[in-house]
């Protein structure tokens, strides 16, 4: 490409997907349920509401994905 040429068009589908991912990443969701945590020392804790966080599985990029 010569200097001054128009920039190549962005991949709109990829851009849309990235935007959707950014919207969901880190989102916190309150969920009801029942949790019991206990140990041999006689401690016991009960939880009724949980805060879950949305995220993507983190992985090391494959050789083909590296630039």
């Amino acid at each position: 490409m010569e200097p001054g040429d128009a920039k190549p068009p962005k991949d709109k589908a990829k851009e849309k997907e990235d935007k959707a991912k950014d919207k969901i990443r880190g989102k916190k969701v309150k969920v009801r349920g029942k949790g019991i945590i206990g140990d041999d020392r006689g401690h016991k804790i009960e939880i009724d509401e949980f805060e879950l966080q949305v995220g993507e599985r983190v992985h090391s990029p494959k050789r083909s994905e590296k630039k």
């Binding site: 969901i24 990443r25 880190g26 969701v29 969920v31 009801r32 349920g33 029942k34 949790g35 019991i36 945590i37 206990g38 140990d39 041999d40 020392r41 401690h43 804790i45 939880i47 949980f50 805060e51 879950l52 966080q53 949305v54 995220g55 993507e56 599985r57 983190v58």
Partner: protein, 169 residues
């Protein structure tokens, strides 16, 4: 002529040490492994697309019996993490360790213990255990990839806790 005399004999046999007995206390340390169990039922968790997952910061019980997110000083050894779903759908369970709670919120893990996929049931087992470090945050990751609006899962986590007691014997 030198004068002769007889040395008087005091007792026969072993010397009597009974008046010199002292009591002493010796400090000792005793260690044991206590079991710690988590049984958690998540109900009505909203659908999430593959490969997204939900993360729940594992809650520990500290020495005073309070619920804390950062791992307490006494190390726990995770040896089993299992997930069971109501449906025979693709599910996943995993575990990440974060430097602190802020890193957990930003989803920036230090390390991953592992991932396990299954249909209806998935289990992570650590033969030699995974030792927790004080102050670090451990997050349990899971998801169910059925196309339904929400899902229910049951999660069990088992760990051993190193307990050391110091005292005199």
């Amino acid at each position: 002529m030198p004068e002769t005399f007889t040395v008087p004999v005091k007792g026969i046999g072993r010397r009597d040490y009974s008046k010199a007995v002292e009591y002493a206390s010796q400090p000792t340390s005793r260690g044991r492994l206590a079991r710690v169990n988590w049984g958690i039922n998540f109900n009505g968790v909203p659908w999430i697309p593959f490969p997204w997952v939900y993360g729940w910061k594992i809650v520990f019980i500290d020495e005073e019996g309070h619920a804390v997110v950062a791992a307490p000083a006494l190390p726990r050894h995770f040896y089993h993490m299992g997930i069971t779903a109501k449906r025979a759908a693709l599910i996943v369970v995993g575990c990440y360790v974060y430097a602190d709670e802020a890193h957990a919120d930003m989803w920036l893990p230090e390390a991953c213990f592992g991932w396990c996929y299954g249909y209806g049931k998935a289990e992570l087992s650590f033969t030699n255990g995974v030792k927790t470090e004080e102050g670090k945050v451990y997050s349990l990751l899971f998801a169910e990839y059925s196309e339904e609006a929400s899902f229910d899962v049951f999660i069990t986590i088992n760990a051993l806790l190193e307990e050391v007691a110091y005292g005199a014997r």
